[in-house]
């Protein structure tokens, strides 16, 4: 599903050039659950941003479903993203001005799903995430665990093929964290590919494979049994 080859990313200021990804090559197959680990500044989040088509690589190749997307323009990237990729963030990134229902509905609006169909799909996913009773609340009225469940609901409502999760339990206590990991595992079992950046060995154990990065390069891969 995803094949990156010799991917490079630099960050430049006026005087310093920092290498974030140094000719990194990774392949992720459809239906895999991959965890990416490594110390701060190793390039995890940069990799996730490029995989999620939020950022451009400076060199190398990125094949998404066998299509070269490294040189896509913003419009093409946005189009591919909204139909194929869901995001879950450490800090949830819910929009404060919208209710739970409206936050989850947003991706459907942007993909042009008719309003009659949207209601059913949002309710279904809220039900699945056990957050239906909070549908009319605003994010700040929810606990962290509930907010992350809403974020997961929003990530999956469009039935994406790939979910990119950036430290999804980083702001949660262990019990809420476990619940979120269970949700991701369930989604993966239903066929969704998941790539998750994490610092937590505990969370990484939910995955099939752990890729460890250091200084923008793969230093180790562990297959989980």
């Amino acid at each position: 599903m995803i094949k990156i080859t010799e991917l490079q990313k630099y960050y430049r200021t006026e005087e310093v050039e920092t290498i974030a990804l140094n000719k990194l090559s990774i392949e992720v197959k459809e239906g895999e659950f991959v965890a990416i680990m490594g110390p701060s500044g190793c390039g995890k989040s940069t990799l996730l941003n490029i995989l999620g088509l939020l950022d451009d690589p400076d060199g190398g190749s990125y094949l998404f479903n066998n299509i070269e997307v490294a040189d896509f323009n913003e419009r093409k990237r946005a189009d591919l993203r909204k139909h194929n990729i869901g995001f879950v963030f450490q800090s949830f990134n819910l929009i404060d001005e919208l209710t739970v229902f409206e936050n989850v509905e947003l991706p459907l609006i942007y993909t042009g799903v008719p309003s009659s169909e949207r209601v059913g799909r949002v309710e279904k996913v809220l039900d699945k995430m056990q957050i239906m009773h909070r549908r009319n609340h605003y994010p700040q009225q929810l606990s962290g665990g509930q907010q992350q469940r809403v974020a997961v609901a929003r990530a999956v409502v469009n039935n994406p093929k790939l979910i990119l999760a950036d430290e999804p339990t980083g702001n949660l206590d262990s019990s809420n964290g476990n619940e979120v990991m269970e949700l991701l595992t369930d989604l993966n079992e239903q066929g969704t590919t998941i790539i998750m950046v994490t610092h937590s060995e505990h969370d990484a154990r939910y995955s099939h494979r752990i890729i460890r990065l250091l200084d923008g390069q793969t230093v180790m891969e562990n297959i989980m049994i």
């Binding site: 950022d55 419009r75 946005a78 909204k82 963030f89 990134n93 001005e97 947003l106 991706p107 942007y110």
Partner: protein, 786 residues
């Protein structure tokens, strides 16, 4: 999708009430001010346009030594014969003041017209009663305006009632609706012209018998060129009035719609105003709207930092840039619509107040005119585009990766722009401050400085019979509240008598024009006129037929004489009679300062003493005036006692400038207030952005004043930059405005000093609350929150 945009717009607005208030209130004020200006300008530029034939109507005027709006009463009757192609032509005799009697009640009214039925064909009067074709056909017929008819006959039908005009009784034969205020020919009542047929006929026999108040109007047929008529005018003058007249004069045909704006003419009923004044007001309106739009852009881009995350999330979820632009435009649209609605409401509410301040007459109904509504729609769209597009494009351009990581990339460009916009706002404010100060100084100069005579505490009273003046004068001087009293044809600032003068012996055989004032022996001292040479006017016996005159400096210069002594005992010809110059007086201001001072001749002619100038003691003036009124009623029982302070008369010469001044004060105030709202908002955001920095500085020991200085220094610099732009611009514009007047102030540095000082003070007050709040905040709290 649109529903979603508006839903989010309303939520954002209601959750950020402070921000919304700053934006909406600023724009509301801006819209209200602009709408008021638009209505004022529409009203003023629309003078006389309400008449359906206005485009084809012309005033026949006279250009000989001067541009004169008055012409002989003989012009229209002869033009009717000479130019049968004219669609309509009418003579109007206008009298500013009229005393009438109905039963036992006396009324002093304004705006009496004497004309014929043709008048109605030129000016679209709306008839409430009477036949418009015949109402003015018979002698002794009078047509009243609706308000006068209601005033005189509140309970009866006005038609057929009698009104006494002193020597005549006239029957009410028609009632018309009140004429719109923006007319160059105001109407109180119209008396049939043939009521005074004999007098007018005598006056009509001579070209040069030009009565003050006599106006001639014509309407040319449709598709007829006025140039054709203009080409025939010299022939008409020669053939009708003789070759001599034809050689000396031109009779310009002045378009009716230009009457209110052509400042060359003397003897207008309403003082004309330059159109530039109204273009300047439109400029002010533009500046106000720009200021309000800048607030929108500034506050929106400042707030964009806070919304960067939202934009990032939306983009991650698949929002395209056009969708985000639409969303932001939706929010701006909602705010602009709210502001426009409130602005229109405020304008309607305060219009009556503005009317009173600016001596105009605009009703709130006028907002509903199609052209005003389309203007409101246009301004709404323009503001939405100006205020919305830039922030929408900036905000929608945020990259999700940047917006999640930090905000630094988002702010720097916006900050420079915001500073630039703040500089622009301060430039506008300071230009308006400079403008207001200069107009204020010029107004003071008009009324109080360099008049050449002492106007203080003097009232002017017109007398019906000069023969009773001696008795009246004796009675007045015996009153304890009266300081002194002088009889004349008018106080120095009153002028309505003009004559030709020449001095063949001095090498000036050709006629020039001079003002003539008939004054008594007390006049020179009472008004403090300064004699440059010779003697003052003294009393002389009625039997003394020698003309002895005092002339002013300008007349002396007209005769190319520099030394006043050299003019003493010289002979000049005034109105066809030879007179000896016995004195030269320093120029005094007899007309408005719009025009260069003109020649003036003073002479002792008691039959011309229709006016009493009375200087009152400063104490208890109302009682003195009441006592004068009592004396008046004993001497002139049939006449209403009316008086006017000279300063009021002088002020009336500058009513148009007063309007400009009031407008400047009002709208400059509004522009500054709008700018302050924006500045307050910006400082609030700057303070919230720099909370951490302030916290760290305080932990490191920064004192209060250095934190306050952190914020104020930056804005002070912006004000200084703005001043460097505003000062030359303001100087240039106002210098040009001052050129409208023959006599004006010179623009000194103090005005600019006041402008920058007041800007700094206003900005300091505006920012004080937020900067102090930031500086006094507990650093522990601010650092923790970061």
């Amino acid at each position: 999708m649109i529903k979603n945009y508006f839903k989010i717009a309303f939520r954002n607005i209601s959750r950020n009430l402070g921000y919304t208030f700053l934006n909406v209130f600023g724009l509301t004020l801006g819209v209200a001010a602009c709408l008021a200006i638009f209505l004022i300008v529409l009203n003023e530029l629309g003078y006389d346009s309400h008449n359906s034939k206005a485009d084809r109507t012309y005033r026949v005027t006279l250009h000989a030594l001067d541009y004169n709006a008055n012409v002989s009463m003989g012009i229209i009757p002869t033009m009717r014969t000479y130019f049968p192609q004219l669609e309509h032509a009418t003579q109007v005799f206008y009298q500013k003041d009229v005393n009438i009697k109905i039963g036992e009640n006396r009324f002093a009214e304004k705006n009496l017209l004497m004309s014929d039925s043709e008048l109605d064909k030129l000016f679209d009067y709306q008839w409430l009663a009477g036949n418009h074709n015949t109402a003015l056909s018979d002698p002794n017929s009078v047509v009243l305006t609706e308000s006068l008819a209601k005033k005189y006959f509140p309970h009866n039908n006005a038609m057929g009632q009698l009104i006494n005009f002193g020597d005549k009784n006239a029957k009410v034969t028609g009632v018309i609706k009140d004429v719109p205020a923006n007319t160059s020919l105001p109407v109180g009542m119209i008396l049939s012209l043939n009521t005074y047929q004999d007098q007018f006929k005598r006056m009509a026999a001579h070209f040069w018998n030009i009565a003050g108040g006599s106006y001639a109007y014509i309407v040319i047929p449709q598709n007829y060129s006025i140039h054709t008529l203009e080409k025939q005018m010299p022939d008409y003058i020669k053939k009708t009035w003789g070759k001599d007249v034809g050689a000396d004069v031109v009779m310009p045909l002045q378009p009716l719609k230009d009457v209110h704006f052509d400042q060359r003419y003397i003897n207008n009923i309403i003082t004309p105003t330059s159109k530039d004044t109204y273009y300047a007001l439109i400029g002010v309106a533009l500046l106000i709207i720009i200021t309000a739009c800048i607030n929108f852009i500034n506050l929106a881009t400042a707030r964009a930092i806070k919304r960067a995350k939202e934009v990032g999330v939306r983009k991650v979820l698949g929002a395209s840039r056009p969708q985000l632009i639409n969303q932001f435009m939706g929010e701006i649209t909602v705010m602009v619509l709210i502001s426009v609605l409130l602005g229109v409401g405020i304008c309607a509410l305060f219009l009556s107040q503005a009317n009173a301040w600016m001596s105009i007459d605009i009703s709130p109904d006028q907002i509903l005119q199609p052209e005003v509504l389309s203007w409101i729609a246009a301004i709404t769209i323009i503001v939405i585009l100006c205020a919305g597009l830039y922030p929408a494009f900036v905000q929608s351009a945020f990259q999700p990766v940047d917006s999640f990581k930090n905000n630094s990339g988002v702010t720097s460009g916006g900050l420079t722009l915001r500073k630039g916009l703040v500089v622009m706002q301060f430039t506008i404010s300071q230009m308006l401050i400079v403008g207001t100060l200069i107009v204020a100084s010029q107004m003071d100069f008009f009324r109080n400085q360099d008049l050449g005579f002492n106007k203080d505490a003097v009232i002017s009273v017109n007398m019906p019979m000069p023969e009773k003046r001696e008795v009246f004068q004796q009675e007045l001087t015996s009153l304890p509240g009266v300081k002194e009293c002088s009889m004349s044809s008018g106080a120095p600032s009153y002028n309505d008598s003009w004559s030709p003068f020449s001095a063949a012996a001095l090498g000036f055989p050709k006629n020039n024009v001079t003002e003539i004032k008939f004054i008594d022996e007390k006049y020179t001292d009472m008004f403090g006129l300064t004699m440059l040479a010779g003697q003052k006017i003294t009393r002389k016996a009625e039997s003394d037929t020698l003309h002895k005159v005092v002339v002013n400096e300008t007349l002396m210069h007209d005769l190319a004489i520099q030394d006043p002594q050299k003019l003493i005992n010289q002979r000049i010809n005034v109105s066809g009679d030879m007179a000896t110059v016995i004195g030269v007086v320093k120029d005094f201001q007899s007309e408005s300062k719009h025009k260069k001072r003109r020649a003036c001749v003073l002479e002792y002619v008691p039959r011309g003493f229709f006016n009493a100038s009375i200087r009152l003691q400063a104490k208890n003036m109302p009682a003195t005036i009441a006592a004068i009124g009592k004396q008046w009623h004993q001497l002139f029982p049939d006449n209403i006692f009316k008086y006017e302070f000279i300063y009021e008369h002088i002020a009336a010469m500058y009513t148009q400038e007063q309007k400009v001044y009031t407008a400047f004060q009002l709208f400059a105030g509004i522009a500054i207030l709008i700018g302050c709202l924006g500045l307050y908002g910006l400082i609030a955001f700057a303070a919230s952005q720099r909370t951490k920095e302030v916290g760290i500085r305080k932990v490191l020991g920064a004192p209060l004043h250095s934190i306050v200085g952190l914020f104020t220094r930056e804005f002070a610099l912006l004000i200084v930059i703005a001043f460097l732009i505003a000062a030359p611009l303001g100087y240039f514009i106002m210098h040009k405005w001052l050129q409208n007047f023959a006599y004006h102030i010179s623009i000194g540095p103090s005005i600019f000093f006041v402008a920058i000082a007041s800007s700094l003070v206003i900005a300091a007050f505006t920012t004080a609350h937020q900067t102090l709040k930031a500086a006094l905040a507990n650093p522990v709290k601010s650092l923790r929150s970061e």
